[in-house]
Amino acid sequence: MIHIDRYAYRSKLKKTDPMQKLFFAVLTLGMCLWADSNVISAAVLVLMGGITVFRGGTSLYFLMKLLAIPMSFLLVGVLTVAVKISEDPGIMLVSLPMAGVWVGISQQGLRDAGRLFLKALGSVTCLYYLSLSTPLVDMLSAFKRIGVPKLMVEMMGLVYRFIFVLFETAETIFNSQNSRLGYASLNSGYRSLGGLASTLFIRAYRRSDELYTALEARGYDGELNVLEEPYQRHWAGYFAPLAVNIILIVITLFLRQYEGGRLG
């Protein structure tokens, strides 16, 4: 059900220190947002996508499929940004009169929308680099080292482990309902989904009860301790991301000066 997780465990970058990957992803992400330039966004897209595919060993096809997930939000959002309301139809490329004003898309709006589109794609690739190379359990250990409250990290760990149990239950119920035409019409669809959600809740509740009893019988004192796998750590792991980002920042500044000079 959750494919990203499976890919993360199979990634060739899995053994790398999660702190390094988190550092790289978040730094590049922040840089991409800050730069807000077409060239940099495209560079980040290629760079992070390339690392994920060539260093991490994720298939390009799967990465493309992932990039299509936020596409509906992205297209709608970007179009909304592009649409402008103005009293002057002259600045618009396409427009329509509506209650005395013109609603349409201007050249500037289109340019803004395009930049936003690329920027969002670039940033989302940073996120994919992280989630396709780092299983959540590793990420949690990195969170702990950063200083996220212990209770929060523990809750996340527990939630993560329960998700799979509940997913399996939900899937089984869904399949049996579906094979009995439970989702054939809208009405029966609602009834089935209502049944699924409520049964799932009651099951989840009982399961957590049983789990606690089982844990307590084995000496649970409010903490679940698990061993961490050893990671490959090397200072160069921090150096390379830093260098890449410094180069990108320099390019951004150069581009800005160039564009600023041209405009002024």
């Binding site: 940033s123 809750m155 809740f201 957590s208």
Partner: protein, 251 residues
């Protein structure tokens, strides 16, 4: 009709009729400028801290709750990944905000919502890390608070249980997307008309399209709630005792 107009109508219908356009309405990664990422994050922080303290307090008196709460988080996550049959034919995902707020109380829901949103970003590629603050504010702070307040108010007014649950879930869902529109309008104010003009645009796209889905979610939540009340009486009673601000307050 001029070509310009034809093109405009074409684009408009494309945007409106795109299937699935209404699903997964978290603000995606990289969509917000850095200033707003940080601002919304800081704005949600006090609520998260409040929630964490409230959880740790309840946990000290009843350690069993930690496991239960984690299970509730996982439940919300799984629920949000289910497909909701919708009148318009496109499918959407229930937010589970209303149900969670009624069952576990708004403070606990803030922490659970944050975890669920983070997991959705990492595991399902819905939402993002930089937009986590903004999404937390709309989905884990405002949504649950509105749902919970509605539930309490309607119950206090002496209306039947189903109506309270329905309105809580539907309004909680709808307000979540109104806040999302406000966040987007703040981030992308229109050149002419500024914030207000931009808000109208985003509301039209993100909140109005959400109305049928909010109603769907309301209906579903009533069905789920009734079924839980019928088959899970003991569990509900336990919940009422254990969660401060949850059902016990609502009764």
């Amino acid at each position: 009709m001029s070509t310009k107009k034809q093109l405009f109508w074409g684009l408009l219908f494309m945007a409106l009729l795109m299937p699935q356009a209404v699903s997964a309405m978290h603000i995606m990664e990289g969509f917000l400028p850095p200033v707003w990422c940080v601002s919304w994050g800081i704005l949600s922080l006090p609520f998260v801290i409040l929630g964490l303290f409230s959880i740790s307090k309840t946990m000290r008196s009843n350690p069993r709750l930690k496991i239960l709460l984690a299970m509730a988080g996982a439940y919300t996550f799984v629920l949000s990944a289910l497909k909701l049959p919708s009148v318009t034919g496109s499918c959407s995902h229930p937010t589970g905000v209303g149900l969670g707020a009624i069952l576990f109380g708004p403070t606990a829901m803030t922490v659970l919502g944050l975890i669920v949103l983070l997991f959705q970003a990492i595991l399902l590629a819905h939402g993002g890390i930089t937009t986590l603050g903004a999404n937390t504010f709309s989905m884990a702070v405002v949504g649950p608070l509105v749902a919970f307040a509605t539930y309490k108010l309607v119950k206090k007014a002496g209306r039947p249980q189903w109506m309270a649950v329905f309105l809580a879930a539907a309004l909680g869902d709808l307000l979540t997307y109104v806040v999302t529109s406000v966040q987007l309008a703040f981030a992308f104010p229109a050149e002419t008309g500024g914030f207000a003009a931009s808000l109208v645009k985003f509301m039209g796209v993100f909140a109005v399209t959400q109305i049928p889905l909010a109603i769907s979610e309301g209906i579903l939540t009533v069905m789920v709630f009734n079924a839980i009340a019928a088959y899970g009486k003991d569990e509900l009673k336990d919940l009422r005792v254990s969660f401060e601000g949850g059902l016990n307050h609502a009764r």
